[in-house]
């Protein structure tokens, strides 16, 4: 018997709870139940057998928590525990057709960005389990709440075995997991990554799972799995409140949503499985006609391409001096700022392009993808010409991304399409090949058809193939404009593919570019453009898309449009108030005002004058007020934030005039390895930047070696380290030791809640910084 054969049965019966059975048999809370496979195998085999007798086609081996993190302090290795557990299960299956599943639960640590476990480390942990469990027939990933963790597990399973993989996640009544993963995102991502069956287990009883199964059935063609708890537990007695017969009744109710694999989770026992088998015996699986839409997603947000959706184009260094500098300095904060600004502007997907000749694009891409996903829900379009960069990004992306791009050249198709298939992404095809961009619409259409056919050959579904018919510059090739639009229309109508178009190129070299861009955008939308790539910060562009969605009937009752524009008049009126000085704006925390005033000042003064006679004195005053207790920390930071706003305006000016005189020196900042508290460090950063220092912020939970590398690469002479927990002070000491050991010519300042001047000295820091204000004094002393 194997899984494929099993799928020919109407229903595949899974087992019920292992933990519940063990607790009934007297296992203490907090113990490691997997060790019983070694110390008391007969008990485990007995439980398995009772499920097989009840009718289970697949039993889950006692391996749920057998990973290197949970077994850390235990005398048996992961592979010993897993092999013993799989052996128990196989033993119980002897002489039956029942299959053994290697059961893999969550690692027990939260992955980045919320937690500190790196994606790559999670992969390794799963890989170890999968390798150890090679004697099982099937791999199960269950009780998962973090889509990122599931992805690590599923990739590890697919890359290190050829067994079928069943994945079930755990949802709450709000239809999301604890980490916010929604059902469409789960289905889109896991189906793409090659799961063989997906579904839900644990957390809720069968009744509460009905709406969740219903929603899942709309989003997947895969066999659906359900393994509910026996209702909800009593917090004191831990007894569950749904009987075996009620349980089976609810399962039968779920049949209409096409369930195929059924079992029980916490609180269930062989009686529940027997009752379920009985309830299903006179039913037939229901096959539902589905029309799963074209969509991409992050864990928390699926963007369905059922109307024009805006792709933000701003994360791209081409022609942007500040962006290039940010990439060279690894200034992730700057890039994140661009991400947030575009989302606020109306972007629904963000293009990520970090290609620059003198940087490690692969490393930067991975970093930026992780960082942007750490703060934004918006799905991403991964944009690179280098297949290795694309693959690295596809690996670490959480969800289902869009890849930009392939083109009609064989080499491009053969290199990139397998990656799209393997990682379950959607792909953007450019209608060009080795001969360049064809002049005529018909030729571009043919390339689109070729890309589509090739993608289909690789098993990529039509709904995941998008085509960009390429915008040429109207000033240079006026007649090409209509060719692009005609090609787009044919691709949409005749091939039935979604269409993408970078819009801004159209107006290059012309005056009033905004007008040309928005007009061209509107023309393209009426031809069937689905995904305009635009600058979402340009009101005329986002506005055109929103207006189109209203007029074409996508924006029902104009609700989105009214939400965006309904209150605009009022706001404009409010902004009209008296003139302030820059100093006043900094003191009172008037961010917008500070920008305006600074722009106005720049017409009369040079940037250094504004910094030295207005910004710095205002900041010094805020610092004094803070020390004297007239204002408190958030007010100091507010003033610093406003000053930073003014700096941004100045920086733009300076960047365009090639003057670097404002920068006083580089400072590396980091919250040390193991620590995730970064508010204090961020406050220090803001203040230092205000005083003109170039801060290289490495973020939180920073590897010791990463600090060393940054100090060396940047030839930096001052390092600030932060730790907020007694448990991470050792990590700070280790970082300092490493810097000293390598003879770095830099001063080190240390700070953080639990640090004392004595301890800072003891671990070899040059300075103890009691607060952000003091870090500025230290920087002045060290760097001038």
């Amino acid at each position: 018997m194997d899984f494929k054969k099993l799928l020919k049965k109407d229903y595949i019966i899974l087992d019920g709870a292992m933990g519940t059975m063990l607790q009934k048999a007297g296992l203490k809370l907090g113990g490691i139940p997997e060790l019983l496979s070694i110390t008391d195998p007969e008990k485990i085999i007995g439980i398995h057998k009772s499920y097989i007798e009840a009718g289970s086609d697949i039993i889950y081996a006692n391996t749920f928590g057998a990973n290197s993190y949970k077994l850390k302090d235990c005398k048996y290795s992961v592979s010993e525990v897993i092999q013993a557990s799989v052996k128990c299960a196989r033993k119980a299956c002897e002489g039956t057709d029942t299959l053994t599943a290697l059961d893999i639960g969550p690692i027990g640590q939260l992955l980045e960005p919320t937690g500190t476990l790196a994606f790559e480390d999670a992969y390794d942990i799963f890989k170890e389990q999968i390798t150890a469990g090679h004697d099982a027939d099937i791999i199960v990933l269950e009780t998962m709440t973090d889509l990122y963790e599931v992805k690590a597990g599923l990739l590890a399973a697919k890359e290190n075995s050829d067994k079928p993989v069943i994945v079930t996640m755990t949802f709450e009544e709000n239809m999301r997991t604890f980490t916010g993963c929604c059902i469409p995102s789960m289905a889109l991502t896991l189906e793409g990554l090659g799961a063989d069956a997906i579904g839900v287990n644990c957390s809720l009883g069968p009744k509460e799972l009905i709406p969740i199964i219903e929603e899942l059935s709309r989003w997947t063609e895969l066999p659906i799995v359900v393994k509910p708890n026996a209702g909800l537990p009593d917090p004191v007695t831990n007894e569950y409140n749904v009987s075996a017969d009620e349980f089976a009744g609810y399962i039968a109710e779920m049949n209409r949503y096409g369930i195929r694999l059924v079992g029980g989770c916490c609180g269930t026992d062989p009686d529940y499985i027997k009752a379920t088998v009985k309830a299903l015996s006179n039913l037939k699986p229901v096959s539902i006609h589905k029309n799963i839409p074209s969509a991409i997603c992050s864990p928390t947000m699926a963007v369905v391409i059922d109307r024009p959706r805006i792709i933000g184009e701003r994360i791209n260094p081409t022609g942007k001096k500040l962006f290039k500098e940010a990439l060279k300095n690894k200034n992730i904060e700057y890039i994140l700022g661009q991400a947030v600004e575009q989302i606020q502007g109306g972007a629904e997907i963000l293009d990520i392009n970090v290609g620059l000749p003198d940087i490690d694009e692969r490393e930067m891409m991975v970093r930026v993808v992780k960082a942007v996903q750490g703060i934004a829900e918006t799905p991403l379009q991964i944009d690179s010409t280098d297949p290795e960069v694309l693959e690295a990004a596809l690996r670490v992306y959480n969800g289902k991304p869009l890849v930009n791009s392939v083109n009609g050249e064989e080499e491009s198709l053969e290199r990139i399409l397998p990656l799209i298939k393997k990682y379950g992404a959607a792909v953007l095809g450019l209608t060009l090949d080795k001969n360049g961009i064809p002049k005529k619409a018909d030729e571009r259409f043919e390339i689109a058809r070729k890309i589509m056919n090739k993608a289909l050959e690789y098993g990529i579904a039509k709904k995941n193939i998008f085509i960009d018919c390429l915008t040429l510059t109207a000033s240079a090739e006026q007649e090409a404009v209509i060719e692009t639009l005609n090609a787009l229309e044919r691709v949409k109508k005749e091939l039935g593919l979604k269409t993408v178009l970078g819009v801004s190129n159209i107006s290059f070299g012309l005056p009033n570019r905004g007008l040309i861009n928005s007009t061209f955008l509107t023309m393209a939308l009426t031809k069937g453009l689905d995904l305009p790539i635009i600058n979402p910060n340009m009101e005329a562009m986002t506005g055109a898309v929103r207006a189109y969605r209203l007029l074409a009937g996508h924006d029902r009752n104009s609700s989105e449009f009214i939400e965006c524009y309904g209150s605009q008049l009022q706001e404009k009126a409010e902004k009209k108030d008296a003139d302030y000085s820059l100093e006043y704006a900094i003191e009172k925390g008037l961010r917008e005002k500070a920008r305006e005033i600074t722009s106005a000042l720049l017409e009369r003064h040079d940037p250094m004058h504004i910094i030295n006679t207005m910004i710095i004195p205002a900041l010094d005053k805020a610092g004094e007020d803070f020390e004297a207790g007239r204002i408190f920390l958030p007010q100091l930071i507010l003033s610093a934030g406003v000053a930073q706003e003014a700096f941004e305006v100045l920086k733009e000016k300076i960047a365009s005039s090639n003057d670097s005189s404002v920068e006083k020196g580089k400072i590396v900042l980091a919250t040390v390895k193991g620590d995730v508290h970064d508010i204090g460090k961020n406050i220090v950063r803001v203040l230092l930047e205000n005083y003109g220092y170039n801060v290289i912020d490495l973020g939180k939970d920073v590897e010791h070696a990463e600090v060393l590398r940054a100090v060396r690469e940047n030839d930096c002479h001052l390092v600030g380290l932060s730790a907020l927990m007694t448990t991470t002070l050792g990590s700070m000491a280790e970082t300092i030791r490493l810097l000293r050991e390598h003879g770095c010519d830099c001063k080190i300042m240390a700070g953080g809640a639990v640090l004392t001047p004595e301890y800072a000295k003891k671990i070899g820091a040059d300075y103890y910084s009691k607060d952000a204000k003091q870090s500025v004094d230290i920087a002045k002393e060290v760097l001038g």
Partner: protein, 223 residues
Amino acid sequence: MVKIESINTDEALRYMGYKENIDIDNIKDIIYDCENRLLSAAEPRYCYKIADIERSEKISVKNTDLVLEGKSIYGHLSECRGVILLAATLSDKADRLISLMNVTDVTSALITDAMASAMTEQLCDIAEEEIRRENGIKYTTFRFSPGYGDLPIDIQRDFIKVLSAEKKIGLTVNDSNILIPRKSVTAVIGISDKPLPKQKRGCAVCSMKDSCQYRKRGVHCGL
């Protein structure tokens, strides 16, 4: 999920070093905005277990393999027959909101961080109240968390495991024994059959007294 209608802003301000004479007019709107955003983002949840304890040299929690070591917890539970083990979290949505604010506006991040700490305490208050009411518990000690006094912080892992807190409320602990999501609390609450004498709280018995930020600023954490 626990419904929390408003955040104890005064408490949050105090965490940030606020003193009475300071005029906060210029941050009032920001505070209000942070409160609303946090209230809509956070998903406050808790889980607990009530257990008897056994006293030898250390305190063991019956039917679990959790052992509470140290003089301070021993003293804390000296009049108690059992404990409530409590775990509470605002979920990773609170962490993510603060991370996002760190990019857009550090002032808001700072304020929201303090707000989230205050909200976590409120969540614990609500949880404690509900647990007492639902289980008819009359007399309890204040909440005592791993890392207080000499109760080792490295029991976090066992604590989480005994409560199945990962499964029930999505709470985990990292290699440095930091609870993740960050805005979370674990605590031991002693249960007694008779009224308890007023307990010593405050700086003198606190293990953080030499390095505490509040003390450095001349204020108090409130415990």
